[in-house]
Amino acid sequence: MIEPTAPALPAYPGDQRVTQARVIRSEWTKLRTVPSSAWSLLAAAVLIVGFAALYSGVRVTRPPHDAAIAGFDPTAVSLSGLQLGQLAIGVLGALLITGEYATGTIRTSFAAVPRRLPVLWGKAIGYALAVLVLFVPATLAAFLVGQSILSSGHLDTTLGQPGVARAVLGGALYLAAVGLLGLGLGALLRSTAAAVGALFGLLFAPQILVGFLPSSWSDHIYGYLPAPAGIAITSVRPDPTSLPPWIGFGVFSLYTAIVLTLAAWRLRRRDT
């Protein structure tokens, strides 16, 4: 049978082994080429800087009383937008993989990388780097904007003060860890609604539940809850129920690592 010949496609003899570095590059391309993810990250950055300005302004008009001035944490005030920004970053982390399940792209991904786990690690590394690249400057900007507003009430601090630089950098680290938690929940639960529900539940529900306990118990437990543990790295003058900054961040990272491990275990086994 004679048919018109298909357009000629040259042979491609090149090396085509799948490596983790190649998969990271691929995942980076995926991340930056869906316009909605880029816009949500930018929106989160704007939110963090904008909220720093807003809340610092509020604190200038309502300065702390003399008794409370020792506990006033100007760094934490300027980083308070992280509480909002973390939600956008966590949700986007979940969407990076639940979006693939929803569109069927996950089959393309796993057919190209049949060992599967490099896809999860590729997303994790690519996304964590993207969050750090964007949010180290964003938290720094939030800090500087916040301090310049607080300075009009003589409430400001500087990066040179003990713990301040750690808190600002730690804010970006915390965001990256929340992004990974969202990604892990997305990979584990595979549905956007379930992953977002679980993320918000993990970040908010434990504090509410612990609030029902007698304070002699809750004071001991509170610091170990995911969100309070993670956010401890952003405070310069921690309240007594908090864990020390790096220990708190370590605890939060441990929760994230547990979720990612469960996700990896399930990813290897499940049919797509």
Partner: protein
């Protein structure tokens, strides 16, 4: 080369693929034929390691697909046309896929040109027509210049030109010595495209045969004859050991005798014929017959199958 050995897949208590063994050889187009829901897509997902078999095994070029270090070099697959993020452009979809295996941008451009998507490659894939989506999926399948090409229902939603394009593309790939495995629920399309057929129904193997043999076995030629005296003619033909049935318009459908034999017999008996035609059973009818026991959800057939 794809080798399935007693491949079985259950979803809960539902048996999707049932003890399926077959070999898909290089150098020819192998059609994977079965009604919708017969287990074709499940089998293809198991070949690619996307679904794990409940029992049995399947290998690509001698080993399970997951064990290949360069998977895109081994198999290029089109599974569903819409396996693309709607917000991403066709170019970036292919680029991300290429980067997993270190395939350069120049190769991405080559496959885009080969499937004729250059004009729309930078547009969001969400706005693609079904046909453009299929071409994008085929571009992805060809990216790594794979030894084996697996396409699930590639002609779905394509226009005539697109179908002809795919047909010649597949035959070209087979001519290069590649293994080409294409599923379809359309017998006629496969008869034109494939040289070998694997037919399944309800997850079971029904036939594993060359297209020529399949067609030869499927043809049940019949003769349609109309006369002024159908009763006498029917009796006469039955005495010649033919099977005769009566159509609604009074014509007879005769099998077991050729047109010539029917004409001569009628002439010798002095029966006037008004019409005498050879009627070839369509492949589609043969296929439906063959798989009808195996079709799970069968709608009553209200229109005759197109021949």
């Amino acid at each position: 080369m794809i080798e399935a050995n007693r491949l079985t897949k259950c979803y809960g208590d539902k048996l999707a693929v049932d003890d399926l063994s077959f070999t898909v050889r290089p150098g020819v187009v192998t059609g994977f034929l079965g009604p919708n829901g017969a287990g074709k897509s499940t089998t293809m997902r198991m070949i690619l390691g996307l679904d794990a078999p409940t029992s049995g095994s399947v290998t690509v070029n001698g080993r399970p697909y997951q064990r290949h270090a360069a998977p895109l070099r081994e198999v290029g697959a089109l599974l569903e046309a819409r396996s693309v993020h709607p917000g991403r452009s066709a170019y970036h979809h292919l680029l991300a896929l290429a980067q997993t295996s270190g395939i350069p941008r120049s190769r991405v451009d080559e496959v885009i040109d080969a499937v004729g998507l250059r004009q729309v490659a930078r547009r969001r894939a969400g706005g693609f027509s079904l046909g453009m989506g299929q071409r994008l999926g085929i571009a992805a399948a060809l990216l790594g210049d794979p030894h084996t090409v697996i396409l699930d229902e590639p002609v779905n939603g394509l226009d005539t030109e697109g179908i002809r394009w795919i047909r010649s593309l597949l035959q070209g790939l087979a001519a290069q010595g590649k293994t080409v495995f294409v599923s379809s629920h359309l017998m006629n399309e496969m008869a034109l495209t494939a040289q070998h057929l694997i037919v399944i129904g309800r997850g079971r193997l029904i036939a594993d045969t060359g297209v020529e043999e399949f067609i030869a076995g499927a043809e049940r030629d019949a003769v349609r004859v109309r006369s002024t005296d159908p009763d006498a003619l029917a009796g006469l033909l039955r005495s010649h050991a033919a099977e005769v049935s009566r159509d609604q318009d009074g014509a007879l459908t005769v099998s077991g005798l050729s047109v010539d034999q029917v004409g001569r017999a009628a002439g010798a008996a002095g029966i006037t014929l008004l019409e005498l035609t050879a009627r070839q059973a369509s492949l589609e009818e043969a296929f439906i017959d063959m798989t009808s026991d195996a079709v799970e959800f069968r709608a009553p057939i209200t229109a005759p199958a197109k021949g």
